[in-house]
């Protein structure tokens, strides 16, 4: 039997969380070391899975494992990854690893960076969340997908309420949790409807996604159920007008949680919307794609404009995520090869990029104690790594060639142009606006006149672990930008499968 890579990846954080909870609370560095070890293990394993998939030129679902769980209801623990989900597994590994690195932080005269308050509980919750995220990306069983989905959402509330930004944490945590639960409940109803109808159609009661793909849902059924299922999940992807939890949530969350949240969790929503919505109900997707395309376009332009006028550093990034996730949904909505390919790449690229952004914002905030952009300035001198990291991330977000953002956005725009050129023109406005807000921040925060804050607080440089996190994230963005062949063919094969389900559209 093959080594059960996926189960190990999924359950490592959970086991680590339990171990961490048993450690003495005083031994903060021990807690952190265990966390880092677990995160490193997961990164290596996910990189292994990714490289195996890439180098062997695999196709379809691989690393499949299946364990019977509740046979009477047709529920099993069924794991497997394809060209779409493998990059996301890697992404989660990266974000988990870097998230632990930047949470390590330091505590010295006036600076309290990273997580210094109860790191034991923090890492335990964070890792439960990570398990859930890995689980969703790897699940081939609808029930398990929901199960992991809720596991991923639930610790978020505690993480934000306990470790979040004092001013808005209760409001934001509540808002976020309500939105996401309501969304998932709506999807769940749709999912149950699917399972039941599939039972009636085929006589087999099963939550298996591969089974449901072949269930032959009627056009009528798909028309009715596609929207609730897709939108229910897309709430977590930040689709307009259900995006509102996300900037508030990102801002209130502690740094590592924001990284997870914008970097991975939003992909979870988009991925589930694709996996359950589009792939199980392709007819419905075709029927409603115009609406999704419309909403996503609003996301793209709208998010960019709002980001442009924010004065809170973290809100800028929060709204930029709304804008960039819109590109993912736009790509989905084209239902074309280019669009889906771009969307797949954008999920990875945006995940890494936004994780980096939030990490940098956190580093600045921990040292400056403010995120008000006009009060910041001159940080390039004292913390060059975050500055360069932010610039690289900014170039990714502007879609600059040579960085991962370009190879993701370019196919999306081509796909959208083919589908509806006017939408492409409207969405293109966001490119200009994005460039402006990124440049405004770079100019103001990093290269502007040294601010009062900077001079007054004796702000120091970030820790070596922070630098390692920045370098890791940047390496992926630049590497993918220069050699899209490292990911695009894999995603392309995942897209082929989706197109096959869509009937070669």
């Amino acid at each position: 039997m093959q080594f059960p890579f996926l189960s190990v990846i999924v359950f490592t954080p959970l086991v680590a969380a339990l171990i961490i909870l048993m450690l003495p609370a005083r031994r903060k560095d021990l807690v952190r070391s265990v966390a880092l070890a677990a995160a490193t293990l997961d990164l290596i394993l996910s990189a292994w899975v990714y490289l195996t998939y890439l180098l062997q030129g695999l196709d379809g679902y691989q690393f499949v494992e299946q364990y019977s769980w509740l046979p009477t209801l047709g529920i099993s623990l069924h794991f497997g990854v394809d060209g779409m989900s493998t990059p996301l597994i890697l992404l989660t590994g990266i974000v988990m690893f870097t998230g632990v690195l930047i949470s390590w932080g330091e505590e010295r005269n006036g600076v309290s960076a990273g997580i210094q308050d109860r790191p034991r509980e923090f890492f335990a919750f964070l890792f439960i969340l990570a398990s859930g995220v890995f689980g969703v990306f790897a699940s081939l069983d609808l029930f398990m997908l929901f199960f992991f989905y809720e596991i991923a959402v639930f610790p978020m509330y505690l993480l934000i309420v306990i470790w979040g930004w004092v001013v808005t944490r209760e409001y934001a945590a509540m808002k976020l949790t309500l939105y996401l639960f309501v969304g998932s409940v709506i999807s769940l109803v749709g999912a149950l409807a699917m399972v039941w109808t599939a039972y009636q159609n085929t006589g087999v009661l099963s939550f298996d996604l591969l089974h449901l793909e072949q269930a032959g849902f009627s056009a009528e059924f798909q028309r009715l159920w596609f929207l609730p299922v897709f939108l229910g999940f897309a709430v977590l992807g930040g689709i307009w007008p259900f995006h509102n939890w996300s900037p508030d949530g990102h801002v209130a969350a502690p740094t590592a949680v924001s990284m997870f949240h914008a970097g991975v969790l939003m992909k979870l929503g988009a991925f589930a919307a694709l996996r359950v919505g589009i792939m199980l109900m392709p007819q419905g997707a075709k029927e409603w794609s115009w609406l999704i395309l419309g909403l996503a376009t609003v996301n793209v332009v709208y998010g960019a404009f709002i980001a442009f006028v924010q004065t809170d550093f973290k809100y800028v990034i929060g709204f930029s995520s709304v804008s960039h996730m819109g590109l993912v949904m736009m790509g989905f909505a084209t239902l074309s090869r280019e669009g889906l390919l771009g969307a797949g790449l954008q999920m990875f690229s945006h995940g890494v990029m936004t994780a980096l952004f939030f990490a940098v914002v956190g580093m600045v905030y921990d040292r400056a104690h403010t995120r008000h952009i006009p009060d910041l300035g001159g940080f390039a001198k004292v913390m060059p790594y975050p500055a360069i990291g932010f610039i690289i991330g900014g170039l990714v977000s502007m879609g600059m060639p040579g960085f991962s953002g370009f190879i993701a956005e370019f196919p999306i725009f081509m796909g959208v142009w083919k589908t509806q050129w006017l939408i492409a023109v409207i969405a293109a406005v966001s490119i200009v606006v994005t460039a402006s807000y990124i440049l405004i921040i770079v100019r103001r925060v990093f290269f502007g006149e040294a601010s009062e804050v900077l001079l007054h607080h004796h702000v120091g440089d970030v820790t070596p672990l922070d630098k390692l996190a920045i370098v890791t994230l940047c390496a992926f963005m630049v590497g993918l930008g220069l050699f899209p062949g490292l990911m695009a063919p894999m995603v392309g094969r995942g897209v082929d499968y989706i197109l096959h389900l869509l009937g070669g559209a």
Binding site: F305, I306, G402
Partner: protein
Amino acid sequence: MTTETILWLIPLPPLLAFFLIVLFTNRWRGLSHSLAIGAAFLSWLGSMAVFVRAVGTHELGRHPFTQSIPWLPTADTWLRIGVYLDPLGAAVLFFVAWTILMIFIYSVGYHNYGQPQGDHDVKGLPPHGATVKDAHGHAHKVPSVEPMYSRFFAFISLFAFGMYLLVVSDNLLTLFVGWEIMGLCSYLLIGFWYGKPSARDAAVKAFMTTRIGDVFMLLGIAFLYSATGSLSFATIFREDVLHTLASVPTPILGLSAAGLISLLLFIGTVGKSAQWPLHVWLPDAMEGPTPVSAMIHAATMVSAGVYAVIRMFPLLRLDAGTMSIVAFIGAFTALFAATIAVAQNDIKRVLAYSTISQLGYMIAAAGIGAYVAAAFHLITHAFFKALLFLGSGSVIHGMEHGVLHTGEHIDPQNMFNMGGLRKKMPITFWTFLIGGFALAGFPLVTAGFWSKDEILADAFGHGHLAVFLTLAVAAFLTAFYTMRQITLTFLGEPRTKAAEHAQETPWTMTLPLIVLAIFAVAYGWVGIPEHFPILGGVVPNWFHEFVGSTLSEMPEAAPFNWVPLLTSLLVSLGGLGLGWWVYRGVRTVEEDKFQIPVLKNKWYFDEAYTFLFVRPSYWFAEKVVYLALDKGLIDGVLHTIGRSAAVIGTALRTYIDKAIINETIGDGTAKVVKSSGAELRPIQSGRLQQYMVASLLAFLLITALLYYFLVLA
């Protein structure tokens, strides 16, 4: 090595140099510049090699050198990246390689290599000079070395990489990649002295303005790809593909698909080559160090825009509507920018506007179908404009030397602080004079004359009279402001002490000037029209034959006519003469009659754009999208839902839950039980007789009922 292999290798050395400098050699100045110049030299060598081979290849236009590999998978195939060299590419590569190499060498001297570190120099600001003691113990100030010396060479290496990549690429995608890399480098280099707020603003302005053009270009590329399924030049320019594109209508402006695509791509050029209405960034770009200005204005960025238009010419010419727009924008820009140049006092700003104006010539030439003339002027202009910028940098450098020496607080870039520099800086003077005369189109001996004359001849010969007249007036103004510049800077007597103490610059700066000056003269001779009186036919019109063969059918040279030639002679000599005559005695800026406010303020375009675009977009983003929509409507709805939920909840609790449900089911049930219990208590008296009576009555009742239902019914 095959030509294709060399083509692949040409862009790489500068990229490698960039990484090496940034990662490893940042600390060692000499090593850094050696790496950068070495890389530029390798690229130059490669370019010359392929150029020579290209010239020696028969029918290169039909069978260009090309090779490609897959890069990004899309639809059914991969988007390929590759290299491509046809006669046009070879000609462009030639000037790019020369100018880049010269600018690199020049930068060593410009940034004061070998000078001491400055007393108070900080990163992000230009060097302020260092105090040194001479043999006698007298302290005096000398120029100090640039604090971010290595970084500069890293950035311009990346810039060079972008340009080489753009020129050798075989498709629009890689062209766009190079294009964007240059946009990024222009941002980094214009804002090189980021300690100056004006430099930061200029960098952002340049990036944003060109970015607006780029977005249109990207859309054009997307359109082209969805229409043809390919971005490679070889495929797009196939007869059948062009034919299809020309015949597909679009809903916009009645243009064909070909017309709309080329219009979108052209807007990219408008941004990159600073054509009206996206010209506003170029003059501000003067905030960067002077070699950067030369890079942007001659060797790379703005030339790239014109190159793209010439490259896409087979597509562009399919639609007469687009051609007219292109011709109009070009001609208008040529004249409009020339008027502004007349009233500028900063030596670099004059040149900046002259660049905009000259680019307008090229664009206009492309718009009237003068393919070869546009390419010719692109190349000659690159040489003499690089020369002029480097020359102006040399002047400023010499002036700064004087400023440091005398301690005067004057602007070393203002021409009204100069004068008489011809004696102090003879090499700079003579080379600048050659460059200036080339720009003004001084007859017969300068390259600028031949290329500009060809454009005018084409415009006249093919009946574009309006374009012809506009360009002629612009040419007159060009000659005029060029002579104004030369007169104010070099002729007459020094106006300040600093100018008296100006000093010739080191050989690393003057050598590039001399090399470029040779090209600014000699490059014209390769394109002398065949029917030109006396000179025509002495040297064959090699340029026309060579570059013309890029197109599937050789474009016809305009027939010789005396009208454009005489016009050309008249405006050039007239402008030069008038410029000298007006400014020969001008001592102060007050005596200058051409300081017209509207011209000085660049026709108020910056102000207008702030009013029309910048402020409204802030307003839109802030008030409409953020406050009204996001905070107002969506959050409003949300909070309303929240509040309504509270209201509904309270209502439910008060009026239904507590009042009805609780009363009937919850407490109600209990109350009923309780009260029933109370009501029923009297029954439970404890007297046996009473129970017996009750039992008997019950028994009788049940028996009666049973009898009734079972027997009677």
